[in-house]
Amino acid sequence: MTRTLPATEVTGRTREGIAQRLAQDLKDGYVVNLGVGIPLFVPLFIPADTEVVLHAENGVLGLGPAPEGEGDPDLTDAGKQAITLMPGAAITDSAMSFAMIRGGHLDVTVLGALQVSAAGDLANWYVPGKSPAVGGAMDLVAGTPQVWVTMEHVDRQGRPKILPECTMPLTGRACVTRIYTDLAVFHVVDGTLRLVECAPGVTPEQVRERTAAPYTEDLHP
């Protein structure tokens, strides 16, 4: 936390670009829950020949795009925004919705993060001193086999968000499986971080300067 800002300037992916990069890794048939923020850009970038079923924890399986016009007040996503349904969509109550989540029936959950640790611990629900609210985040990271984090690589003060240990309250331990940032893509393999990709125009050195956690490199050109 006391590291000084890196000397070099770097420009990686935009927030949309992070979502676009992540969308490439979604496979046909995946059932995916998307958190607020960057994850909400993901549907824009899912290829037309890939069917990804979107889940909202308030009981919607098979979300479609936002409606044209007002929308139906009885049909909203977990962010209380109006939605539509895809063919084959199903509605459940909240207990069944979280049965899907906790029981491991989703494939991927995509969510933002305040911090990720070297072991894949996630902090994303509470900045001490601010207003605490957790929603379904703890269930999603506990139950979903693949937990993909999207975030800016450093915070607004330029401090690393990928740390040896999280300093903010945890959402879950050893739950993150991938991290997609503006600068890089990390996988969590056997409980340790592995840098697998730098964003276009970003060097491994620039990533290293902005990452406080230890990690190994396995870059695919």
Binding site: G59, T76, K80, D93, A95, R102, V134, A142, L170
Partner: protein
């Protein structure tokens, strides 16, 4: 003969006493039983413990209860409302913050005779380790923490023990309901409503449409009437409209 329909909301909600615990359906304003919640305000009930996912984003629904100082404790996953946090930090209302899936399962469990269950959600976090503040003191210090929850390793994984919620009352909203208390919800307005109904020792359901007893096919009922004690209209019918209708979905 069983007829659970009541025309007068206030005389029904009058059974709710000061200090009662209430499981409330809805997700944000979707499927929220506003007629029942407003009746609590008109009846000037206070010191309430509400189990609900969100307090809301304005001073309607549970937000109105908060705004009027009627809440002693909120058990929720995502309170949102800024005035709620102001009251919380001022020690005027207690917050038991729990994961959303845990809230759903605790309501279902309580209504199902399951006193406690293990879940991975929140294990090893401050929502389970006894460090989350339930109540602040007026000077800004911590008056009381949410008690630490039992943790257990099962098959190599850490879980936390959560208790079923049996609330004094359940407040729910449905799209259609009949005089036997059978309910059907519409789209994502279903959410916590069946669970809040199960959790309540005594449950009120406000319905958008009162339908005849054979209008809901037995396979189409989302919540059987056995969980509902009183059925009310979500919107009192205008005088020129028949009370009973058979509406399409």
């Amino acid at each position: 003969m069983i007829d659970k329909f009541r025309e007068d909301v206030l005389s029904v909600v009058d059974h709710v006493h000061d200090g009662a615990s209430i499981a409330v359906g809805g997700f944000g304003s979707s499927g929220r039983p506003d007629v029942l919640l407003d009746a609590l305000c008109e009846l000037d009930r206070r010191d309430l413990h509400v189990y609900v996912n969100n307090v809301g984003h304005d001073f309607t629904g549970v937000g109105r209860l908060l705004h009027e100082g009627r809440l002693r404790r909120v058990t929720a996953s995502f309170p949102i409302l800024q005035e709620f946090y102001d009251e919380y930090f001022a020690g005027k209302v207690e917050l038991e913050l729990i994961p959303q899936g845990t809230l759903a399962e605790r309501l279902r469990a309580g209504g199902s005779g399951i006193p406690a269950f293990f879940t991975p959600s929140g294990a090893g976090t401050m929502l389970a380790d006894g460090s989350f503040t339930l109540r602040y003191s007026p000077d800004g210090g911590v008056a009381e923490h949410v008690p630490a929850k039992e943790h257990r390793m099962i098959n190599g994984r850490q879980y936390v023990l959560e208790e079923g919620i049996v609330a004094d009352f359940g407040f729910v909203k449905a799209h259609r309901g009949d005089r036997k208390g059978n309910l059907r919800f519409r789209l994502s307005a279903r959410n916590f409503n069946p669970l809040a109904a199960m959790s309540g020792r005594h449950t009120f359901a406000e319905v958008e449409h009162l339908v005849e007893v054979d209008a809901l096919h037995p396979d189409d009922i989302h919540l059987p009437g056995v969980f509902v004690d009183d059925v009310l209209l979500a919107t009192p019918a205008p005088a020129d409209q028949p009370l009973m209708e058979r509406s399409a979905s």
